[in-house]
């Protein structure tokens, strides 16, 4: 029997706090953009393109960076073996609104390129050379059941050997990311990958 997928790690980013595997690793007051930029500085990431990203991409990018830090993920999996499945409720509305304000005075190409929610998958993929299965879904709320079933299907059909999945959402000052690293194999501190555990981790900051 093949080993079932497990949740190897989780990263939750909610207003002014970042959790890694349930532990707070960063806190900073201020607006969404201030918080995201301070988190980037704190993590000592050298990736100038971060500053060009919209806030949705910054949010997803940071969550992925935190999960991948020190993990040697690229040595365990080939480029095509890692998938990315994300979801949110506001699609790219945060940057859509900013872009719409530029239209009359000269539309900004740099904003326009972020007016699709799945660009966050592209930014993470470019950074880490992921070329596996990917999808972006828009739901009203995080749907652990759907996510568990969809990603399990990728594993069952041998389309991925690891997968980053979860929720990356922002509209103005309301932002939230919960990103899970899912892999097959046994090990300590790993949770079975199922809807109950996804929903439980997603409620971590609600006590």
């Amino acid at each position: 029997m093949l080993p079932v997928p497990n949740i190897s790690a989780s990263c939750l980013i909610s207003p002014n706090k970042i959790f890694l595997d349930g532990q707070i690793i960063f806190e900073h007051p201020g607006s969404a953009v201030t918080f995201l930029d301070k988190a980037y500085d704190h993590l000592e990431i050298a990736y100038p393109k971060f500053h060009k990203m919209d806030n949705l991409c910054k949010l997803g990018f940071l969550a992925a960076e935190i999960l991948l830090n020190g993990r040697s993920h690229e040595k365990k999996y080939s480029d095509s073996e890692t998938g990315l499945v994300l979801s949110n409720s506001h699609a790219s509305l945060d940057v859509d609104l900013k872009y719409s304000k530029t239209i009359h005075s000269g539309a900004s190409p740099a904003l326009f390129v972020y007016t699709l929610p799945n660009i966050v998958i592209g930014e993470i993929s470019i950074r880490h050379h992921f070329k596996g299965e990917n999808a972006f879904f828009v739901f009203k709320h995080f749907d652990g059941k759907f996510m568990a079933e969809y990603v399990s299907g990728l594993f069952e059909n041998k389309l991925v050997k690891s997968c980053f999945c979860g929720w990356v959402d922002i509209l103005k000052e309301d932002y939230r990311a919960i990103l899970f690293l899912v892999e097959k194999g046994d090990g300590e501190n790993k949770l079975p990958f199922n809807a109950d555990n996804l929903n439980k981790l997603n409620r971590l900051d609600h006590g």
Binding site: P48, H51, K52, S105, G106, A107, S108, P109, A110, V113
Partner: protein, 90 residues
């Protein structure tokens, strides 16, 4: 010309979110794309919008792009050649 070049560097940094750079870090003749400071095709479009908005200059021939946007100095030359009276406030 020096004031225009410095102003352009400030505008490029702000417009393209090059937060790790200061005007002093960009050479007047340094290539802006690929091997220079690493701008990409989207940045090129943003520079075209910058010329239109800040200097009221439209790039009349797209094929001139690589020459015009080669460096800050070539952009400044193009502005000077295509603008009756460029005022640079500091």
């Amino acid at each position: 010309m020096d004031k225009l070049i410095y102003k352009l560097k400030e505008q490029i940094i702000e417009r393209l979110n090059l937060k790790d750079l200061k005007p002093e870090n960009i050479g007047d003749d340094q290539p802006l794309f690929v091997e220079g400071i690493g701008l990409d095709s989207i940045d090129a479009l943003e520079l075209i919008v910058l010329l239109q908005q800040e200097y009221n200059i439209k790039l009349s021939n797209a094929e001139d792009g690589p020459r015009v946007f080669h460096s800050v100095r070539t952009i400044a030359d193009y502005i000077t050649a295509n603008s009756g009276a460029v005022k640079v406030t500091t």
